[in-house]
């Protein structure tokens, strides 16, 4: 059985001796600066960008409502914009934030791309990465843990103190648990400030409506990193105990770090897109255009699809020309055209997103061999900066665009006369009172539940990693050698 008191003693002893070296103070100082810098950058980007985007979101709503009386189809072309709001937790984990578009023009007949991503304005330096609190905890902290712990057991063996400990009725398990705990406590000197500053930032900036969900997400993030750090500490101690020398333990740990954090993620993601190529915008647009033409061209009066449609409508209403219909017929045709083209677009977009998900799949699966990948995925999902959150924004923007276009088509059907106008007639208009009836664009953030469901695999992998590290610790404490 583990003797808790002895483990604590070993942990305390480990921390004490660590604090005797200048290197630790240097590390803590550098990390304190980095945490401050990352928190400031995160906060600054969040507040600046959200202020800019909210400003324009309000401006475009005001200009929508202030339009004078006009033909509803003009309004459908006037359109609106959707700006992507940043989640408060994006201050902690930037995730994909810089790589996704931020603004999209929403108009009738056309699904525009979400433009103006930070990556598009970047000078190529962005590919080196960004400094966020999450990156410090995911990338830099593991390196520090390995550095602090590589010699934790091997040094005692090299110095001969290990034998003395073991002969004094201290079990292997006490030593391994104690050393892991010691490294863990040191790691907490970095992790706790990073997490605390995050809490401080979200409490300082989050809107009240979202605060419960945001705090739940925050708790999830804190828990995930706690487990990740604990797993890393155990791995460090196990490798130190199982290695012939401190130097060989260090080499192994550094190799693990490089493989886990630098090589594997980039390679698997690159292979994913190599094996599942996705279309360029031009290919995509061409495919959509061809499919829409196949269905029928609403602007062509002789188009078979719309001819059949007209004949059946005339039959139902028992009239012989569209002018006699009780509603505006071109509004009706446009509603049909919008429905068809939006459906075709959605089908193609779903296919595209499915391809992207396939590309990401290999990387996600590596969570089972790479705890870093698991934590990275969960952290992004909880910070609402993952792929899923972006897809949700894109879908909401498209849904709003569709609603806008169809509301205008219905207004046209209802209020615009069916009589054709001459070239010099004043165009038909409807009252500007109608514009306010269209609700504003109000994107809904996914809740923590949905976010976690998408990352179920990574959560399970992380659970597996914590169980495995305990099992390995038990196994090694039975088999380890003193010399």
């Amino acid at each position: 059985m583990t003797n808790k008191r002895i483990s604590f003693l070993i942990a305390r002893q480990f921390c004490r001796s660590a604090f005797r070296s200048n290197a630790l103070y240097a590390i803590l100082l550098v990390m304190a600066v980095m945490i401050g810098f990352a928190a400031y950058s995160g906060w600054k980007i969040y507040t600046t960008q959200n202020a800019i985007r909210q400003h324009y979101q309000h401006e475009v709503r005001a200009s929508w409502e202030n339009n004078p009386d006009k033909h509803p189809h003009r309004m459908a072309h006037f359109g609106s914009f959707a700006f992507r709001a940043k989640h408060p937790l994006s201050m902690f984990d930037f995730g994909l934030e810089s790589f996704v578009g931020n603004a999209v023009y929403l108009e009738a007949h056309r699904q525009n791309t979400v433009n103006f991503s930070e990556a598009g304005f970047s000078t190529g330096l962005l590919r080196f990465g960004e400094i966020s609190l999450a990156v410090l905890l995911q990338v830099v902290l593991p390196l520090i843990i390995f550095f602090l712990g590589f010699a934790s057991v091997s040094e005692e063996r090299e110095g001969g103190t290990l034998k003395i400990l073991l002969t004094q009725n201290v079990s292997w398990r006490d030593i391994l648990v104690g050393k892991s705990l010691g490294i863990f406590l040191l790691a907490m000197c970095i992790a706790i400030p990073a997490v605390a500053v995050t809490l401080f930032l979200i409490l300082g900036t989050a809107q009240n409506v979202l605060i419960t969900d945001t705090l739940l997400r925050f708790a999830g993030i804190a828990g995930v990193y706690l487990i990740f750090i604990a797993v890393l500490c155990v791995i460090t101690v196990l490798i130190s105990a199982a290695s012939a020398s401190s130097k060989s333990a260090l080499m192994k740990l550094l190799a693990i770090w490089l493989f886990m954090i630098v090589l594997l993620p980039r390679t698997t993601q690159a292979l994913g897109s190599y094996f599942y190529p996705s279309p360029s915008k031009i290919e995509f647009d061409t495919a959509v255009e061809l499919d829409v033409l196949k269905e029928g061209d609403s602007h062509n009066p002789d188009d078979p699809h719309y001819k059949t449609l007209r004949d059946s409508v005339l039959r139902v209403y028992r009239v012989d020309s569209v002018q006699q219909l009780p509603f505006n017929y071109s509004g009706f045709v446009m509603r049909e055209g919008e429905r068809i083209s939006a459906e075709i677009f959605r089908r193609h977009l779903d296919k595209l997103i499915a391809t992207y998900k396939k590309q990401n799949r290999i990387n996600e699966l590596t969570a089972w061999i790479n705890p870093y990948a698991a934590v990275r995925n969960i952290s992004m999902a909880l910070s609402a900066t993952d792929f899923e959150s972006y897809v949700v924004f894109q879908q909401e923007a498209e849904r709003y665009r569709y609603q806008l276009a169809q509301t205008m088509n219905e207004l046209q059907m209802k209020f615009i006369s069916n009589q054709k106008q001459g070239p010099d007639d004043k165009p038909y208009t409807i009252s500007h009172e109608h514009w306010k009836a269209l609700p504003d664009f109000k994107p809904q953030q996914a809740t923590i539940g949905t976010a976690l469901r998408h990352e179920a695999g990574s959560v399970l992998a992380l659970v597996m990693w914590s169980i495995l590290s305990v099992l390995f610790l038990i196994r090694l404490s039975k088999k380890a050698k003193a010399v």
Partner: protein, 448 residues
């Protein structure tokens, strides 16, 4: 003696492993580059066919010039340089093809390409990455214990006694590793030249010279660290930390700073203003729009102010206002982007990793500047189309009289001259500086 050092080096298992790692990763990266190129070239072919069919279909369907030009899209292509396969740079996020109608340009030219954001985030695995990230790691792995391992194994005293000079011995050991790593670099470059059939031109030489100097920087840096004669563990930790700082923390911090100092709200302003500039004109008196239009293009003044409810002259004048009234925002955005580029480049001068990355993108023509150039060319291209079609629309010229076959995609013109000294000088300075520091340290190396 030298042969013995070579043998000793080659026999190590780690060297074989490293060789396999770098060759496998290198070949993967070259294949990824080849796929990138072939997909871009494929898209260009498709655009050419698509534009022909698109024009044919629309010309057949519309007999009114104004309506036809509402639909017609014309493509401007920036053909990727073959070197782009080695350094994909910004070419993945910013498109190399612009397809525009003669309507408001500001609403069209910033459309991004379709991208998987996860791919963008993890970054491209191109040969540039292998050279920038992996080669330094191997240099670190091969050099960190050159001196310390001899001391730790107790062989240093023997060497000091037997070798003519301990310093020469140390340099010999480094040179064995340098020859190995440079030959691996040459192997990868040769594979790249063969697989991608790269033309051997000035740009390729620039890429090669930069790679050589970049590795030299890391050799000099590692050598400088080992001349402090600390333990193997100290060396490896210092060098790896330096690697993390140079390849991750510093460039990433600079990126944070640039993004924070220069946000680009002008992009959103341009987007909104180009819409308002055009759309608001529908609710205004035609005279206002036409007056502004004729102020921009006095040569069309004789067309007067149309009286019908709808008229194509008025319509395109309104579209023109989308561009004219957003121009100050769009110029401000362009200036902001270039400012970001300037600031990054100046800071990069002091950081070989960043400098080499930007340098690779420059020679491969995949940098942000190249994208801004494409945007500028698009502007010129679009204006030329407008001026060609405006009078035909205003006169309602017959659609069949136009030679539509001549409207094939255009390519933007070739590269500017390369500024070798600005590109290579920062690397040379870094290498020389580190060498001087190492020599100063070496003086103190005694035999014990």
């Amino acid at each position: 003696m030298y042969m013995l050092l070579v043998k000793q080096f080659i026999r190590s298992k780690a060297v074989v492993l490293a060789f396999i790692l770098i060759v496998v990763m290198g070949i993967i990266s070259i294949l990824i580059g080849r796929q990138f190129l072939s997909r871009q070239e494929n898209t260009i072919r498709q655009v050419t066919t698509h534009q022909r069919e698109h024009i044919e279909r629309n010309v057949a369907a519309h007999d009114e010039m104004g309506l036809l030009l509402y639909y017609l899209r014309f493509s401007l292509i920036s053909k990727p340089d073959k070197l782009a396969a080695l350094s994909i740079g910004q070419r993945d996020v910013n498109p190399g093809i612009q397809s525009v109608t003669i309507r408001t340009l500001e609403g069209q030219k910033y459309d991004t390409d379709l991208n998987n954001p996860s791919n963008l985030q993890s970054g491209n695995l191109d040969l540039g990455f292998i050279i920038l990230y992996l080669f330094p790691l191997l240099i670190i792995a091969f050099t960190f214990n050159l001196l310390s391992e001899e001391k730790e194994a107790g062989t240093w005293r023997l060497i000091a006694v037997q070798a003519r000079s301990a310093k020469v011995y140390l340099l010999q050991k480094v040179s064995v590793r340098a020859v190995a790593l440079y030959s691996w670099l040459v192997i990868l470059l040769l594979i790249a030249i063969l697989v991608l059939s790269l033309p051997v031109n000035e740009a390729l030489w620039a890429f090669i010279v930069a790679s050589i100097l970049y590795l030299a920087f890391w050799f000099a840096f590692c050598f400088w660290i080992i001349t402090f004669r600390r333990s193997s563990s100290f060396n490896v930790l210092t060098l790896l930390s330096a690697w993390v700082v140079f390849t991750i923390l510093l460039p990433a911090s600079v990126n944070n700073i640039v993004a924070n100092l220069y946000p680009v709200p002008e992009s959103l302003a341009t987007m909104v203003k180009q819409r308002d500039g055009y759309h608001e004109k529908w609710d205004m008196d035609k005279g206002i729009t036409m007056e502004k239009f004729y102020a921009h293009y006095p040569q069309y003044k004789s067309y007067g102010i149309p009286e019908q409810t709808f008229n194509w002259l008025w319509y395109y004048a309104m579209q023109q206002m989308g561009d004219d009234e957003s121009v100050q925002y769009s110029n401000a955005m362009r200036e902001k982007i270039l400012q970001r580029e300037r600031v990054s480049r100046s800071i990069a001068m002091a950081m070989p990793t960043m400098h080499t990355q930007l340098f690779f993108n420059d020679v491969a023509r995949t940098s942000l500047t190249d994208y801004v150039q494409l945007l500028d060319s698009t502007h010129v291209f679009h204006e030329r189309l407008r001026l060609h079609f405006y009078p035909k629309i205003f006169d309602n010229a017959a659609v069949k009289d136009e030679n539509w076959k001549s409207f094939i995609p255009e390519y933007i013109s070739d590269r500017k001259d390369m500024n070798w000294s600005a590109m290579l000088l920062p690397l040379i300075v870094a290498v020389v500086l580190l060498s001087i520091l190492s020599v100063a340290n070496m003086r103190q190396i005694k035999s014990v």
